[in-house]
Assembly symmetry: C2
Homo-oligomer: 132 residues x 2
Amino acid sequence: MSNSRASPRFVPTDVELHILRILWELGPSTVREIHNRLTESKDTGYSTTVKMLSVMLEKELVRRDDSIRPQVYRAASSQQSTQKRMLSEMIHKVYDGSAKSLVMHALSSTKTSPQELEEIRQLLDQLGKNEE
Amino acid sequence: MSNSRASPRFVPTDVELHILRILWELGPSTVREIHNRLTESKDTGYSTTVKMLSVMLEKELVRRDDSIRPQVYRAASSQQSTQKRMLSEMIHKVYDGSAKSLVMHALSSTKTSPQELEEIRQLLDQLGKNEE
DNA sequence: CGCAGTTGGCGAATTCTTTCGCCAGTTATG
DNA sequence: CATAACTGGCGAAAGAATTCGCCAACTGCG
């Protein structure tokens, strides 16, 4: 269920998250590929991308395959587990531990389709069972 | 419903959020009061608190009443609207705009009481009505 | 081989956040 | 009114995150 490998003792910063998103989307990629995607929405040099990746490698946010050239990077942990990690930080730091408040805000401030509301309702039922 | 005053063009940083939390809890307060609360969980000098407040004033995260001494600071926007602002940033930056995914994660990764689940269910019903 | 283009490593500049030292003005007290 | 304690302003140091310049190593092609 949770990821086995040790990994991210760090929460990604803004740019780091941006890069992780690219890796989740593209899968394992070379610096060049990452950089190209990155510069679609951002105006920074190639060196910057290289550097960010090396910082992220240091922090174990990404892994690198050195057996091939050019080297290939991939996210060290899944999108889901990273999201959950960041979310729980937010629940604590911003919502004082109340997941409920956060959920209420999330639901009331964005439009959610009936379809999606239904899925959430089902999860709620699910959770209710485990409780009782 | 939303706050009328212009205000926070900025998302608070960590320490800033910490201070805002204190202001929401205590209500309008002097630097001294804020500082005392702050140092219950953090070890920084009085000057630091003063400076942070002046930075926050600059960013319009807080307002200051200069008509009395010592001056009194208060949060420029409510806890709720700040939370919502930060939450929507997270939904976009981390969850790619999907409030639903965020809600699902929040519910499944933290224990929520049956009581709370019920409240959420009610909100869901509420939202369902508005949709149809 | 030999040059042109690409890749990636490193230190350092830049920018933002957090911290503080120092000092001037204000307040409280005897 | 002195003088000790408190308050708040400012610039700049210290820490992080982000950016880049420069250079060395590697690759592909004629």
